[in-house]
């Protein structure tokens, strides 16, 4: 682990904060839109406004985590990764730094959507529930941080934008952001159950229903993190192509 590298990456993210603002804009707009339409209804004992707020926060944190990993494609295109391979920095330290920064970037979208939810949609839930949904959502960004690494390694610099865009849409659909998980058609739900987005969504929203986190969700998040992490690490080790 290199503290200087971590600090440098955080500095770069601060400089490129415009992309971070975009990762917050989309969920906030959707939250305001859907919140005005359905905000006063309830769903299975929870306020729809709170349900939407948690979902949108998740969408924002997922997008930020995947989007950051995607920038690896651009760094590879610039030959930066080849340069790093000529230093003692290990692949593991590199990947770990990327995951830590992804998780840091996943925080602001969560905070912003929660503030908008509370102020604009009048979401009122107990403090502990706020904390629980926030924490679960944040930890739930882990498989997406790992997925971001995979995208960063598989995509080309000019294809990374459309690929991440498509991923956001699919994740949003299956994470219960366009359609609440409870209202999904049977087939879609069956597909959704194989995605990390679905399970992170279910876990993050469970405190709203005073329900425990489903164990399947814990396993799904761990398994997807592991799968993506291993693929990313393998790609790093074999990534020697000259850009």
């Amino acid at each position: 682990m290199s503290i200087t590298y971590l600090r440098t990456e955080i500095l770069r993210m601060y400089r490129n904060r415009r992309s971070l603002i975009f990762s917050m804009l989309m969920p906030v707009i959707l939250l305001l839109l859907f919140g005005r339409l359905y905000g006063t209804e309830t769903l299975g004992g929870a306020a729809v406004s709170a349900y939407l707020m948690v979902s949108m926060g998740l969408f924002g944190s997922m997008s930020a985590a995947i989007g950051y990993g995607g920038t690896i494609a651009v760094e590879r295109g610039a030959g930066w990764n080849r340069q790093l391979r000529l230093t003692p920095l290990t692949p593991r330290a590199y990947g770990l730094t990327k995951v830590i920064v992804s998780l840091l970037l996943a925080l602001p979208p969560l905070l912003v959507t929660y503030v908008v939810g509370a102020l604009a949609l009048g979401v009122r839930i107990p403090a502990l529930t706020w904390l629980a949904v926030g924490l679960i959502s944040w930890v739930g960004a882990l498989p997406f941080a790992a997925l971001g690494l995979v995208v960063g390694y598989l995509a080309k610099p000019d294809s990374v934008q459309p690929i991440t865009g498509l991923l956001f849409m699919l994740l949003a659909a299956f994470g219960g952001i366009w359609v609440p998980a409870e209202a999904m058609p049977d087939l879609m739900r069956r597909v959704a159950e194989w995605t990390p987005a679905y399970w992170v969504g279910q876990a993050a929203r469970s405190p709203l229903f005073h329900a425990p986190i489903p164990m399947t969700a814990v396993w799904a998040v761990l398994a997807w993190t592991l799968v993506f992490g291993v693929i990313a690490l393998r790609r790093f080790q074999s990534d020697t192509a000259r850009a």
């Binding site: 290199s2 200087t4 590298y5 440098t8 500095l11 770069r12 400089r15 490129n16 760094e75 610039a78 030959g79 930066w80 080849r82 340069q83 391979r85 000529l86 230093t87 003692p88 920095l89 020697t240 000259r242 850009a243």
Partner: protein
């Protein structure tokens, strides 16, 4: 013919990177790399002693970059082995024994020059002071500039500084002056000379003949992934072109001339004969002893001719 000139002041720079005595800086054995049907590097063997300054000379596609990638462990040879100071490249990189300047850009545009070098220095246990490296590369005044705002030549100097920051005893440069103007090239080699004066080992790839001739102790000429000549500039010239003998010899017998020792080809224009020789001395002895040749002229081709002779044309 393998020349391994070691300069009297050769020795490792101070620091962790000090290599063990008597071990070659680089040892390549039977290196082969194929990309599909193309054999980029074909059974290449090469030993570079500590303190040597070696040019890897060849036209585009000769396998220079592929060879350098394998030396640095950026790609794995299909066959053959690479050792830097007797160990795998990764070990040498971890110890800060190697500094390299690749052809690809390799810099992040959103960092400043100072940040880039501070980051690179942070990876090593005993780096050179960043300030000193920036001065050596002539970029001290650019420390606070973003890399993305620099000109191509300035970025090249930053990459040179990156190669030096580990205080490596072995420096590998892949076409370091491509895209630089004549003045920038001279400035680059001037600072390079100051570095090599400290006993560093240098391997640089180039397709500029004058650079190889002027800055290398030893030239390794590559064609189609093979070493076609290896030695000092003078030796490479001799091997490549041999020499040309011109003489006046009325009624010359082409077959008899071609049969002389050391002669590669014979041209006859009226009374003038032109013998292209790989060993002009041997040919000359027989020519003087056995024929009536007069007005004899022996000329060596320049490195440019040698280069063309060896690298143009079909694979043998």
């Amino acid at each position: 013919m393998t020349a391994t000139p070691t300069r009297p002041d050769a020795g490792a720079p101070a620091g962790l990177a000090a290599p063990p005595a008597g071990v070659p800086a680089i040892q390549l054995a039977g290196l082969t790399k194929r990309y599909g049907a193309v054999t980029a590097v074909d059974g290449l063997s090469l030993t570079i002693a500590p303190g040597e300054v070696v040019a890897l000379l060849g036209p585009n596609g000769a396998g220079k970059s592929t060879t350098i990638d394998m030396i640095l462990g950026l790609s794995r040879p299909d066959v053959g082995t690479v050792a830097i100071y007797g160990r795998p490249p990764q070990d040498a990189i971890r110890n800060g024994a190697v500094g390299a300047m690749l052809q690809s850009n390799g810099l992040l545009p959103d960092l400043t020059v100072g940040e880039t070098l501070a980051l690179m220095a942070s990876f090593y246990t005993r780096p050179r002071p960043v300030r000193q490296v920036m001065e050596r590369a002539g970029i001290a005044d650019l420390a606070r500039k973003r890399v993305g705002s620099l000109s191509g030549g300035q970025q090249q100097r930053v990459r040179f500084a990156v190669a030096l920051v580990a205080d490596p005893s072995l420096i590998i440069l892949d076409e370091p002056t491509t895209g630089l103007d004549a003045q920038a090239r001279r400035a680059f080699w001037a600072s390079m000379r100051e570095e090599t004066a400290r006993g560093r080992t240098v391997l640089f790839a180039t397709h500029y003949l004058d650079e190889a001739d002027a800055y290398a102790d030893r030239i390794v000429l590559l064609r189609s992934g093979r070493v076609v000549a290896d030695g000092s500039a003078a030796q490479v010239k001799a091997v490549a072109s041999g020499r040309t003998i011109r003489a006046t010899l009325p009624g010359a017998d082409a077959a008899a001339l071609a049969a002389l020792p050391g002669v590669d080809s014979v041209d006859i224009h009226g009374d003038t004969i032109v013998l292209t020789c790989r060993d002009s001395d041997a040919a000359l002895r027989k020519l003087l002893a056995g024929t009536a040749a007069r007005d004899i002229e022996v000329t060596a081709q320049n490195l440019e001719d040698a280069f063309l002779a060896l690298t143009v044309g079909e694979t043998p």
